[in-house]
């Protein structure tokens, strides 16, 4: 018994979850009403009556959509293991290329927003949990932040800072007249476009981290082991040290789960700022029933969420002896 079995058990659970989730992602778009190819053709071309049917047949053959569902399913897995995510009907490009170009935008916005809001939120929450005077006015503020919808705050930023004050650009990831490259002008444009979407996530996220930390600190500071330390003459500093370490553990889980949502965790934000991440891809794919793109984008989401959960399960066994004890016992 011990860690290896724990690891094997977790791996099996995650593998099954992965298969299941991917299957659902594959199946759901196909259960939606309507035919994506028909939609694509009608929206794009002015065709004569006979030409349309021919084109539909052609594309169905091309994408294998006329085959029975089970065959499509097998094909899907075979291609997947060859790294082939299919071809986007909407963008007319390989899905993997689309994802490859969008993913960096998600990461560049979400990773700093999640990581920094985690640090700042925990810090503010810890202060509030420790100090009643701050708590009294900080808590309502945290709740206000946490209950604010992302898109709403994003729209406030766009309206006031972008439109009214005109301080910062609020559409796209850089000035479209520039060619992306490692030159100062582009970097400047990129950063100025980055600030508002980043802020819109960062500020809202602070609220829930802070609430979580504040509640955990209060809970831990009242735990028996802190009372015991106090009775044995521990200083305030020592009690706080012990309590904080335990309070931060659930926050680490929260962080990992958030990081798992890094792909497509900001659909609303990307729409408001027209920021070209996976979120935009997903939305467009869903609207136009682009099976392959939808599948591909969801696959990324599934992989990142599961990977984050898996990693935290493993890491937790190292940082929290309670978890370790639970698997060595059972």
């Amino acid at each position: 018994m011990g860690f290896r079995r724990y690891l094997a058990q977790k791996t099996a659970v995650y593998a099954i979850t992965f298969l299941f989730a991917v299957t659902i992602n594959w199946l759901l778009p196909r259960l939606m009403p309507g035919n994506p190819i028909e939609a694509m053709i009608e929206s794009n071309l002015n065709l004569g009556p006979g030409e349309k049917e021919i084109l539909i047949r052609f594309y169905e053959d091309l994408y294998g959509l006329n085959e029975p569902l089970w065959r499509q399913f097998v094909n899907f897995w075979v291609r997947l293991f060859h790294g082939d995510l299919g071809y986007s009907l909407l963008y007319k490009a390989p899905v993997w290329d689309l994802i490859r170009h969008s993913l960096p935008y998600d990461i560049v916005i979400l990773l700093p927003a999640i990581a920094l809001s985690w640090i700042v939120g925990n810090w503010l929450g810890a202060i509030a949990g420790k100090n009643r005077r701050y708590d009294r006015w900080m808590m309502p503020l945290f709740y206000f932040l946490a209950s604010m919808p992302y898109f709403w705050f994003a729209m406030l930023l766009v309206y006031f800072i972008g439109v009214k004050l005109g301080w910062l650009p609020y559409q796209g990831a850089y000035d479209p007249s520039l060619v992306p490259g490692l030159n100062w002008e582009f970097i400047k444009s990129f950063l100025s476009h980055w600030i508002l979407p980043f802020l819109s996530l960062f500020v809202v996220m602070i609220g829930s981290w802070a609430i979580g930390m504040r509640n955990m600190i209060i809970y831990e500071l009242e735990a028996d082991y802190v009372r015991y330390l106090e009775a044995l003459g521990a200083s305030e500093k020592l009690m706080t040290k012990h309590a904080y370490r335990n309070a931060i553990l659930p926050q680490v889980t929260g962080l990992a789960l958030q990081l798992g949502l890094m792909v497509a965790g900001a659909i609303a934000t990307e729409i408001v700022f027209n920021y070209p991440g996976i979120g935009i891809l997903l939305m467009n794919a869903a609207l136009s029933q682009d099976y392959f793109l939808l599948q591909g984008a969801f696959l990324m989401v599934v992989i990142s969420v599961l990977a984050a959960n898996f990693i935290i399960d493993i890491v937790y066994a190292f940082i929290d002896p309670r978890v370790r004890a639970s698997y060595t016992e059972g």
């Binding site: 028996d224 009775a231 044995l232 020592l238 335990n246 309670r322």
Partner: protein
Amino acid sequence: MSLLEIRDLKIYYRTPRGPVKAVDGVSFDVREGEVFGIAGESGCGKSTLVHSLILRKPPMFHAGGEAIFKGKDLMKLSEEEARKIRYTELSIIPQYAMNALNPTKKIKDIVWDLAREHGYEDRSEVEGLLRERLAMVKLSPKVADMYPVELSGGMRQRATMVVSTLLNPDLLIADEVTSALDVTTQRVVIELLHHFMEEGIVKSIIFVTHDLALLDKIADRTMILYAGKVAEIAPTEEMISSPAHPYTKLLLESLPKIGVRYKETKLNGIPGYPISLLNPPKGCRFYTRCPYVMDRCREEEPPLVEVGDDHYAACHLLGGENQ
């Protein structure tokens, strides 16, 4: 020689409805080399009394009286003076001993964190002592390197007892340490406490329990509290063989048989409930339940009088002048 002298100590709780007089003018001594038992029904102020010696946090406050420990009044110490005395001179095994150790810290780290704050500088010396003491309570010295979650409840209890006594405190407070335990484990805990005394690790123990039958096995002298007041103080054997206070008598009668296994008694044998500590009656606090109640009892508070050798009780039946 008295290690601790409590004189007319009053410890109250501040509440919106007025002070709860949980300990209301209690006096007693704890002598060097003795186990002093404190017994009484749940809610009579036992925990309040002993915890107030270590730490008074709101809503608990000191409303009068003294607690002279080794020549110093514990009630008058500065925050820092009080902190230094804790653990090194005055320590406690809490009621929640099984959960007293931080689950995510190795036991040796918990101990070192505490010892360092009390001026210890040699980590290996402290750890060596810890391993020695763990072996003394029949735990593996390796327990020092383990996390509390890796231990069973009984092992955690013993580990906490080791941690609490590691720095050889003069006075050890044990608050209901046996209450949650089965009879076998109770016996182990009591043997360990005896052992701590014999080895000179602690000079005296205050042993708090609501379980009168247990005191027979451990306490040299016993004090019975009722609703924040002393009912009786006597050598334990004498208290059991010839109790003076009506409350003590009823308590003893309500026990099935001393020394025989029995379930936790809530003293249901005595009719009625303890009075409210928010608004205690001005006479004897026991008069609402006392079978011998007299008119006088409702009006006058009975003083604590000597009724035998080293035997004190507070009841009008026992005579004594009014204060």
